[in-house]
Chain length 504, copies 2
């Protein structure tokens, strides 16, 4: 491919180390794109030709903002972004319809198939699908984008930015790929706690070596001592028991999603002085425990989750990739749901205490140093039955108010992440003001019937409610238990037909 | 992946050299699967839940025949087929619906997208889509399969075998992937003229060396002499002028298809004592000429087409890959349509005369030897402006009678081939008793607005009719010209909305 290096607005830009790595580790069985599935509910007075007009609007939105206008070019083996001056909307946007009966099941099957195929590097690395044909009158949007273009947090920010809290205003907003993120718009998403500084700060690392290394040394040293003292809260990469999730993956994916009431989860958190995130992790732990137990595959020692933490500085609205990790066990060895949640909370509290003393750059360095035991094991073959981590679980704070897109209310915002070779399942969560939206992606071959995890999440929630919350007057914790609120669809009957037999 | 070598029915089988090559040359931008798009017209008395019941039937068809049950396994770098004992119908079969308005355009957009993504090597290398939502009440089936599993001729044979000339009988036939090809069923497809013997005969090549080499030497020697005497009928690989079709391709494909009346094309062939195949090639030549002329990209010397010829022996109904090539120029340097057709006919007659003297193995060897000038050019950089061939055009004889599948009449049978790096467009044709079905696949990036080729094919047909056929009583060759018969859809209006603005 020939191209001319131009100056000014159209200048080419070298990829960051992380963006570049996301492209280079991509392989046939390990595509490295992520996505976002959004459900929208048109209002009562929506005209019949609403979708037709929306498709027209999107098809004629033939200009794209940064980073949707970025195209990859390679010169002498080095990868650059340049502006795509030949933007082809037919490549980037697709309008599709679900087959009858148009249940959530058909939607998730579609997303599973589409998320399994690679993006073409000759075009901007994203595609947006407008999906009609859901039996309940809603429609869906699925945006798929390469991780090198932006991370999930940035993707969420762009999506939310194309929406409005005002229904009328939302009708006049441009297409998602024309949405511009500026600081004035950032209020709709809660600021992420700045666990760590931007990657750029690593460049000045030698200068600040002593100040940098001292707390880092303290953290790692303490963790090692705690680990040697068998403190369950000190978790390292390479400590996870090898499970069926740590196998070579196929190129095919299966996706499942569900929403649970934020109020239900907060009520549980309050009873144990835990955070919403602790409850989210506990539900993941119990779902994975039930799934593995069912298959007689539950390891004796607890599964370990790698938890991405943002290293963006507060107020940093850049759309780059900014990711470091912390680690927690998931209490999968503990049968009692409350004890399981408490032990996860303890581990996360321990992590937070340690991370609080660290600058963002140190957080990244700490994560890297916690890789050392795993690397040593791998090289020396000390613990062949161990895996780096069992699973990656990511929880991203979402919008805190009702949002509208083109006049339709947002009723679900499900992250679609990626799996890696030997990391065959990933759970990503977006918490909104009213619902916590879970998205689970897995290799369809190594994690059979993965959609059952959705039911097991609910089982875990009910188990915690039964153990912690007093029954209400007219029966067992009826208000919190309202099944209508825990469903993706908002209708009680639907759940039964959504997930139960996708692979059966 | 671990597997046990088993004996008997489930034994593993080493891939043939060709099958193996088709997997190894596959790359990110060059997937190596092919396909078949079929249109079906349900009868007048079809019940409303016809599609629903058909989907149920297909979803419950969870056993597959050879080669649909084959799974790829690799052991010490060598690839084997083994039976997939974990056959997952949800991976192999998908039911989808087209978005409104459900024109052929939406169908072709869907096929274009789906044909761009790779098949997962962890599963049998095929997927079948049942596609509803066409506005005219028809439905479509798209079968996508890896070229290593079978070639297009074998694929066609399997498909036709799952159909019947009897509408009632067709209702009771099993799913395509359960269709068995046996010799008694072969009558529905005309036998291919055995240009060459099976590849196996190559193994005994040294033994028969003299008898083998003599006619081969005569053929190649004569071709070289003719070429040096500037005989336009002697065509070699590497002689083609480099055109926009000979560029590095993207990973994205665009597919277009159309049917033309067999009677119209036969009438032209008769006037010039040419074959249907000569007319097919002439139409391809004129379409490519108009397309390139429109873009100011028409080379002075004629484009060269590589034409796959079958090297199956007569009566060989095996489903392996059996492919050799012959070469023809496409007369794209000739403005007059009749002279263009005649010059292509001359070239094909020359080829046939030479090939008739060759055994099938010699045909293959002859094709290989005709690669030599191209290879020499490439290595020595003698003719940097030349390409191996401009395009691959394949014409496969299809069924000679009306066929039915599950009670619905087959109304279109379009081959979907593949493009290779530097071979950005491919035209494949299946001729049936009533229609000749053209399927064109191209890289969407290097061959912009390729769907115009469909219109240009028709322009070429009309041009030949105007030059060769006398006008009828009530106006210009009205009977043959009946536009209704030349359309994919069977309705006059449809064509205008099918193809004209897919990328505009």
């Amino acid at each position: 491919m020939r191209f001319v290096f131009r100056q000014g607005l159209n200048a080419v830009k070298k990829l960051s180390i992380v963006d570049d790595a996301f492209l280079r580790i991509e392989s046939r069985r390990q595509p490295f794109h992520i996505g976002m599935l959004m459900l929208f509910e048109p209002g009562m007075d929506t005209p019949v030709n609403f979708i037709e007009k929306l498709v027209q609007k999107l098809k004629s939105s033939t200009e794209a903002s940064e980073p949707f206008n970025r195209q990859l070019v390679t010169k002498r083996g080095i990868q650059y972004w340049k502006e795509d001056t030949d933007f082809d909307i037919t490549q980037q946007f697709a309008h599709i319809s679900l087959p009858k009966p148009g249940r959530i099941r058909e939607l998730l099957e579609f997303v599973s198939r589409v998320h399994s195929s690679h993006l073409d590097r000759a075009y901007p690395l994203w595609r947006l699908y407008l999906i009609e044909g859901l039996e309940d009158g809603r429609f869906a949007v699925f945006l798929k984008f390469h991780h090198s273009m932006m991370d999930g947090v940035a993707g969420l920010r762009v999506m939310v930015n194309a929406m409005s809290g005002d229904i009328r205003e939302s009708e006049n907003l441009p297409a998602f790929w024309q949405s511009r993120v500026d600081k004035s718009e950032a209020h709709r998403l809660p600021s992420l706690k700045p666990f760590a500084v931007n990657l750029k700060s690593l460049r000045s690392l030698p200068k600040q070596s002593f100040q940098f290394i001292k707390p880092l040394y303290r953290d790692v040293n303490r963790s090692i001592l705690d680990y040697l003292k068998s403190n369950p809260n000190a978790v390292f990469f390479g400590q996870a028991p090898r499970s069926i999730f740590n196998q070579k993956v196929s190129a095919s994916r299966r996706y499942a999603a569900q929403s649970y009431s934020t109020a239900r989860m907060r009520a549980i958190a309050q009873r144990l002085d835990a955070t919403l995130n602790d409850v989210v992790l506990a539900l993941c732990g119990s779902a994975l425990r039930i799934y593995l137990k069912d298959r007689n595959e539950l390891p004796d020692t607890p599964l370990v989750a790698a938890i991405p933490v943002s290293i963006r500085e507060q107020g940093d609205n850049s759309l780059n990739n900014e990711v470091a990790f912390t680690l927690t066990h998931l209490g999968t060895h503990i049968a009692d749901p409350v004890r399981r949640l408490q032990s996860i909370k303890n581990c996360m509290d321990y992590n937070k205490k340690n991370l609080r003393e660290l600058s963002p750059g140190q957080t990244l360095a700490s994560a890297v140093m916690k890789l050392v035991p795993g690397a040593v094991n791998a090289v020396l073959g000390l613990k062949p039955d161990n895996a780096l981590a069992s699973i990656c679980i990511s929880h991203v704070p979402g919008p805190r108010e009702a949002l509208y897109w083109q006049g339709a209310r947002l009723s679900g915002l499900y992250p679609v992440s990626l799996v890696t070779d030997t990391g065959a399942v990933n759970i990503t969560i977006i918490s909104r003001h009213d619902y916590v939206d879970f998205g689970i992606i897995a290799c369809s071959k190594t994690v059979p019937s993965m959609q059952r995890l959705i039911d097991y999440l609910e089982d875990g929630l009910i188990e915690l409610e039964q153990a912690l919350l007093p029954p209400s007057v007219d029966g067992f914790s009826a208000e919190l238990h309202d099944p209508e609120r825990s469903l993706v669809t908002g209708k009680v009957e639907r759940k039964d037909v959504c997930f139960e037999e996708i692979t059966d």
